[in-house]
């Protein structure tokens, strides 16, 4: 069983490499049971989304 600490690492790595089948299953199982890590997972996606918007949502378009 994954603990939360390992889960945060895997959530980050999932943005950098394809996770293996076992890793994905373990991650899914943990997220089903853990609200904190589910929030963490959304936060990781949010950060990536914000990074991709950094240039286009610059000051220019915020008027």
């Amino acid at each position: 069983m994954l603990n939360c600490k390992e889960t945060t690492r895997l959530l980050s790595e999932s943005q950098d490499r394809p996770l293996g089948l076992g890793e994905r299953a373990a991650l899914k199982l943990h997220l089903l049971m853990c609200k904190g890590c589910t929030n963490y997972s959304h936060q990781m996606s949010f950060i990536r989304q914000a990074c991709s918007h950094l240039e286009t949502h610059g000051k220019e378009e915020r008027k």
Binding site: N3, C4, K5, E6, T8, R9, S12, E13, Q15, D16, R17, M33, C34, K35, G36, C37, N39, Y40, H42, Q43, M44, S45, F46, I47, R48, Q49, A50, C51, S52, H53, L54, E55, T56, H57, G58, K59, E60, E61, R62
Partner: protein, 194 residues
């Protein structure tokens, strides 16, 4: 508006972007200047401002990548080690002995991402948090997220192992989320269970 004026208006945004990547004001000025000159020389017809902006940013990104490649190739490994040590200490404190969140550190709900991204103020906070990342960690994070390098490319470019790269990227993302939670989202209701 003539093309030169339109491009000049983009300059502050370009500079801000280049500064975040390069962490060197003089270098940032130089690459932005080069990008603007290249853009002006190759000015095509653009349907709108957004298209022009996207195109100029693509030029800028390439200039930044060239600059990074021209710089010292390998990253300062001892600086990275120091950054890592500092991180490990604060990171470990977030968890109980069994590796689960300690109640006070449990991540909260950040609400609707689209709504946040629409807020002008948010971008100042986000910039500040990016600037707070330790320099070597930030450099790798920027290569990954803004210049869109694959992890393998970053490793080759900087001479680090890919396993190390994953750790560094996790550190960067984790620091960013911590900074955003402290400075933007605020303390969250602690009713989440794990």
């Amino acid at each position: 508006m003539n093309p030169a004026d339109e491009l000049a208006q983009l300059r502050p945004d370009l500079l801000r972007f280049a500064r975040l990547q390069l962490r060197d004001d003089t270098l940032a000025e130089d690459v932005v200047q080069e990008a603007l000159i290249a853009a002006l020389a190759g000015k095509q017809d653009f349907a709108g401002r957004a298209a022009l902006k996207t195109w100029v940013f693509a030029i800028l990104k390439n200039k930044i990548i060239d600059t990074l490649r021209g710089r010292e190739r390998s990253i300062n490994l001892s600086a990275l080690a120091v950054e890592e040590e500092g991180f490990d200490q604060t990171f470990d404190r977030l968890f109980k002995a069994n590796g689960h969140w300690s109640p006070a550190a449990r991540p909260g709900d950040w609400g609707d991402p689209e709504e946040t991204l629409r807020q002008t103020q948010f971008w100042a906070t986000f910039d500040a948090c990016l600037n707070h990342l330790p320099a070597s960690t930030a450099r790798i994070f920027m290569m990954r997220e803004f210049l869109e390098f694959e992890v393998e490319e970053i490793c080759q470019e900087l001479g680090i192992r890919s396993s190390n790269c994953y750790v560094i990227l996790h550190r960067a993302r984790h620091n960013l989320r911590g900074c955003l939670e402290r400075t933007w989202f605020g303390p969250n209701p602690r009713n989440a269970t794990c």
